[in-house]
């Protein structure tokens, strides 16, 4: 049939090269960094806002709100990029998971220290920190489990082919 007598005009190498921008490690690093920085920033700014001692003037509230929305926008952009634009393979997920644990732990420590120094809002700060770090730990555990399952499957299939 016609297409059986025709061949794709683009060589395989060119097809694969055009996928380069999506497969670039930098694209994944940028997306993970945007998501983590956005989330960490949101938690930090929100914790500062919440634990601010005394009544705040309207302009300060507005500034905190703008900062929070700004950080949320980066988190949303990073999340959208990671789920829709850039593939995160199993090994990438493990690395991203550990980055999330590191970033959430650092943010949790920072938020808790600020709350202790101010002497207010300690309980909410600890609560938010636990949720944030907990979510990161869940992500890294799931990433390790997924990678381990794929490695087991790879070993089984390689063994079957070797027979």
């Amino acid at each position: 049939m016609a297409a059986m007598t025709e061949e794709p005009r683009r060589p395989a190498r060119m097809v694969f090269e055009r996928l380069g921008p999506v497969l670039s490690p930098w694209a994944r690093i940028r997306a993970v960094a945007a998501a983590l920085a956005g989330l960490a920033g949101t938690v930090f700014v929100a914790a500062l806002w919440w634990s601010e001692p005394g009544p705040l003037p309207g302009r300060t509230h507005a500034a905190f709100a703008v900062f929070t929305v700004f950080c949320l926008a980066w988190a949303g952009y990073g999340g959208w990029t990671l789920t829709r634009r850039v593939p995160l393979f199993a090994t990438d997920r493990v690395i991203a998971g550990w980055l999330a644990v590191a970033a959430s732990t650092a943010t949790a420590v920072l938020v808790t220290v600020v709350a202790v120094q101010r002497g207010s809002g300690l309980l909410p700060a600890v609560g938010v920190s636990v949720v944030f770090v907990g979510a990161a730990v869940v992500l890294v555990v799931r990433a390790h489990a997924r990678r381990a399952a794929l490695l087991r499957r790879k070993r089984r299939l390689t063994g079957e082919e070797g027979r």
């Binding site: 683009r10 694969f16 996928l19 593939p87 393979f89 790879k154």
Partner: protein, 173 residues
Amino acid sequence: MTDELLVVRAQLGERAALAELVLRWRTPVWTYVRRMLDAERADDVAQEIWLAVVRGLPRLREPDRFAPWLFTIARRSITDRLRAEYAEAEAFADVAAVSDDPAEATVERAELTAGLSALPVLEREVLVLFYLEDLSVEECAQVCRVPAGTIKSRLSRARRLLREQLTEKGWQP
């Protein structure tokens, strides 16, 4: 190496396995797209398909079902392209004419092609998936998102239409 092993290795992040998958499936994907669109658009749509495949590969839960998953993505990309260019009804009527190539009408294989390209798009699609891409009826059903019985009836109708087309052109079985 089986497709399943290649997919698993690619899902782990092995670039060489992903390149091998592209190399292995590039022509079948392009052939399917080419049967539905003209050569110019086939190159672009095939590239879009590979982009969607790479983006979706980490989420593929059944690596042993790679081929139907791949053709489901291919079908969606073709449909999106047709929808973007025409009203749906016009598109289904027009693609047949687009794929016609009079220069190929001199050999028997090309006559088959001409007959195929004159078929309605749904029947042509199922012939391509079943005969050219070697998918099973169940896999065709998964790709086209219709019951297996519908695929069987489309295949039957497609064979009849193709036979009529070829007989009209004087082809002898």
